[in-house]
Symmetry: D3
Subunit: 159 residues, 6 copies
C-alpha cells in the first residue's frame, strides 16, 4: 500500500520496475475522465484539425452520428496520459501497435482505461526486453471505444 507516511523524500511516484518484474495478465485500471467540449476545442487548437466532425455542431446534426465527436488522437492521448501515474526509470515507450477506433467518443462521455500485460518478449537491444501492454478504453456504458497495444522497452535486472 502506498500511503503518505511511508513515502521517503524524493521518491514519490517513481519506482524502478524491471523486465522481470512485469507479470503476464496483471491488470490495472485508471481513474475516469470525462471528455468535454473544452478538450475537443483544445485538441483542435493543438493539432490544427478543425474538421467539422469535431467543430461544427450544425453539420454534425446532418450526419448519422449527430453529435460532435472527439478526435481519435484526443481519445488516444487522454487514455495514454491517464495511465502515466508512475514513473519507471527502467522503461521507455517504444511505440504502439493495432490502435483502433471502435466507437465514437462524444462530449460528456467518461472514459477509463484498463491496462493488461499481454506479452513479454526479447529485444535486440542488449539487456532489454519488450513488454506489451494492452490498453482498452471504455466509456460509461462499458463499451470499448479504443484499443491499442503499448510497447515498452524495459531494462533487465543486472543488465
Amino acid at each position: 500500500m502506498r500511503d503518505p507516511n511511508q513515502q521517503k523524500s524524493g521518491d514519490c511516484n517513481v519506482t524502478e520496475i524491471y523486465f522481470e518484474d512485469y507479470v503476464l495478465d496483471a491488470t490495472r485500471e485508471t481513474l475516469g475522465r470525462t471528455i468535454t467540449e473544452t478538450d475537443i476545442v483544445l485538441h483542435a487548437g493543438q493539432t490544427g484539425d478543425f474538421f467539422p466532425h469535431h467543430m461544427d455542431a450544425e453539420w454534425c446534426k446532418t450526419q448519422d452520428f449527430k453529435l460532435r465527436m472527439a478526435h481519435g488522437t484526443l481519445t488516444f492521448s487522454v487514455a495514454v496520459g491517464a495511465t502515466a501515474t508512475l514513473v519507471n526509470p527502467c522503461a521507455v515507450s517504444y511505440g504502439y501497435d493495432r490502435l483502433r477506433f471502435l466507437k465514437p467518443v462524444f462530449i460528456g462521455d467518461t472514459i477509463r482505461v484498463k491496462v493488461t500485460i499481454t506479452e513479454k518478449r526479447d529485444h535486440k537491444l542488449p539487456g532489454h526486453g519488450l513488454v506489451c501492454e494492452q490498453l482498452e478504453v471504455f466509456n460509461q456504458r462499458k463499451e470499448t471505444v479504443l484499443v491499442c497495444t503499448h510497447l515498452l522497452l524495459v531494462k533487465r535486472r543486472g543488465a
Copy 2:
C-alpha cells in the same frame, strides 16, 4: 490547381475521394510546425502526463537526452493534425499500425510529415476498401522522428 476564384460556395476544403481514386505511391507533404514549450505544457495539461521527461528541466539535465522532450502522443497528434487539410466525406479513420517513436522531439524542433499511399486492400465492410497511408515525421535535420501507418476505411465508387 486550387485558387480562390474557382472555389464554389460551400465546397472549400471538402472533396470526395473514393477508394478507386487513391493511387499507390502518391505522396504529399505538410507544412512545417515548430514544437514549442507551449505545446508540451498544453499537452501535459490535456493528458495529465506530467512526467519529468516533459516538465522538469532540471531533472532532464541529469539524463542522457539533457532536454525536455515532447510526449510521444503530442508528436503523433500534431503530425496527424497537420495532414488534416482536406475533408473527404468518403473516408473514416480506422486506426493506426506500427506507430514508432524513433527519435526524441525537443522544444524548438520543427516537424513536417510526408504521407505516402502504401497499400490498398479489401475490407469486409461491403462497398468499402482499406487505404494505408504511411506517415513519416521529419525534424529540421531530416531525421525521421516518428512513423506510423494510417488506415482509412474508404467508400468505393458506386457502392
Copy 3:
C-alpha cells in the same frame, strides 16, 4: 481539383496567386465552426477582456441579450482564421476596413465565412496591387453577424 495523389512533395497548401490571378466577384466559403463557451473563456484569457458580457452569465440574464456573447475580436479572429487555408507567398495582409458587428454571436452558434473578391486597385508599392476581399460571417440561421473588408497587398506577375 486537389487530391492526395496529385500533390507534390513540399507544396501542399502553398500556391502562388498573383494580382492578375484574382477574379472580381469570385467567391469561396469556409467550413463551419461552432463558437463554444471554451472559445470565449480562452479569448478572455488571451486578451484580458473579462467584461461581464462574456464572463458573467448571471449579469447577462438581466440584459436584453440574455446570454453571454462572443467578444467581437473573437468572432473576427475565428472568421479570419477560417479563411486561412491556402498559403499564398505573393500576398501579405495589409489591413481591414469597415469591420462591423451586426449581431451578437452566442455560445453554440455556428459561423461560416463567405469571401468575395470585391475590388482590385493599384498601390503605390511598385509591382504590387491591392485586392479587397469582402468577408461576410453568417450564423446557422443565415443571419449576417459580422462583415469586414480584407485588404491584401499582392505581387504582380513579372514584377
Copy 4:
C-alpha cells in the same frame, strides 16, 4: 471618478496607495465571473490535479455533491485575480491567512468577491506596514463559498 477623458498618458490602472491611505472597513466589490467547465479543465491542466471530483462526471453522480466541482485553488485563483484591477506600486502581496473552502463551486456558478480592509498593523520592515484585506467570495445565491485574508506589505508615506 475614473473616466477616459481624465486619464493621463501612461498612468492608466496604476495608482500609488500608501499605508496611510488605506481606510479600515472600506470595501469594494469585483465584477461577477461564471466558473465554467472550461475553467476546471484548464485548471486541471495547469496544476495536474485530475481528481475525479473535478474531471469524472460519472463518479460525481455517485457522490453526495452529484456534480463536478471547481478545484479549491481554482476558485481561490479566480477570486484573487478578480481583485487585481489596479496596480499599486507601493504594495506587494505578502501572503494569505485562514483560507477556507466553505461551499463547493459548481460549473455554471457565478462568483463575485467583496474585499474589506479589516486591519492595519506595523511590520518589522522599516517604512512599511501590513494591510489585511478580507476576501469573501459569494456565488449567485449569495452564499459565501470561500473566505481568506490577504496580507499586503505596503510602503508608508515619506519612508
Copy 5:
C-alpha cells in the same frame, strides 16, 4: 482618483459615461503586454491559422523577416483587450475602421496602446451618438505596429 477606500459595493470597474462626457483629444494609455510564443500558439489554436509565418521557425529563417510573427488578429485582439478596463453600460462596440498592420510583432515584443478620442458624430439611432477612438499600438522601440479606429455607439444623456 480611484482608490480601494472610495469604491462602493457593486460598482467597481463600472462607470456610466454618456456621449456628452467624451472629450475630443482626451487620451489614455494601457499597461504594457509582452507578446509571447504562448500567445501565438494559443491564437493559432483558437483561429486555426497555422500559417508558417507564425508556426514554422525554420521557414521563417528563410524569409526577410527571419522570425515567427504574431497573427494580425492576435495583435489586434490583445490591443483591444488591453483597453477593456472599464465597463461603460452606455456604450456598445459598433465596429472598427482603417485597421492597418504597420510593422510585424515578434515573440518578445512588448506592446502598449494609446487611445485618443478623435471624433464625435451623430448617429441615426435616436438618443445615441458615435464616438471614434483612435487606437495606436506601440512596441518597446516606440514604433507604431498597428492602428485602427474604434467606433462606439454611446447613449446621450436624457435619451
Copy 6:
C-alpha cells in the same frame, strides 16, 4: 510498493487513509515541475491578472527583480496540484493557513514540494479529525519560495 502487477481493477490511485493512519512527521516529496512562460500566460488568462509583474518584460527590466515572475496563486496552485497524486476518499480539503510568498518564482525555475504531517487535532464534526500538512515549495537552488499549511478534514476509523 506500488507496481503494475499488484493493482486491482478500479482502485488505481485511490487509497483510503483514515485519521488514525496519518503519522506525525511523515514526509513525502513531489516530482519537480518547471514553471514556464506558458504557465504564466495561462494563469493570467485564467485569473484575469495581467499585472506587469507577470506580463510586461520591459517594465520588469526596470524593477529590482528584473524578470517576469509567477503569480503567487500560480505557484500555490501548481504546488498543491503536484501533491494531488493519490485520491483519499476519507479526506476533504478544509483550507490553508499561513500561506507565505517567500521568494519570487521566475520563468525557468523548477519547483518541488515537500509535504510534512505536522499536526493532528480534534474537530467538532463527529467522527472526524483535522490533519495539518506543511507544504514547503523549493526551487532548484533549494531556496524555499512558498510555504503553507494544508488542513485536511479526515474520517476516523469506525466513525
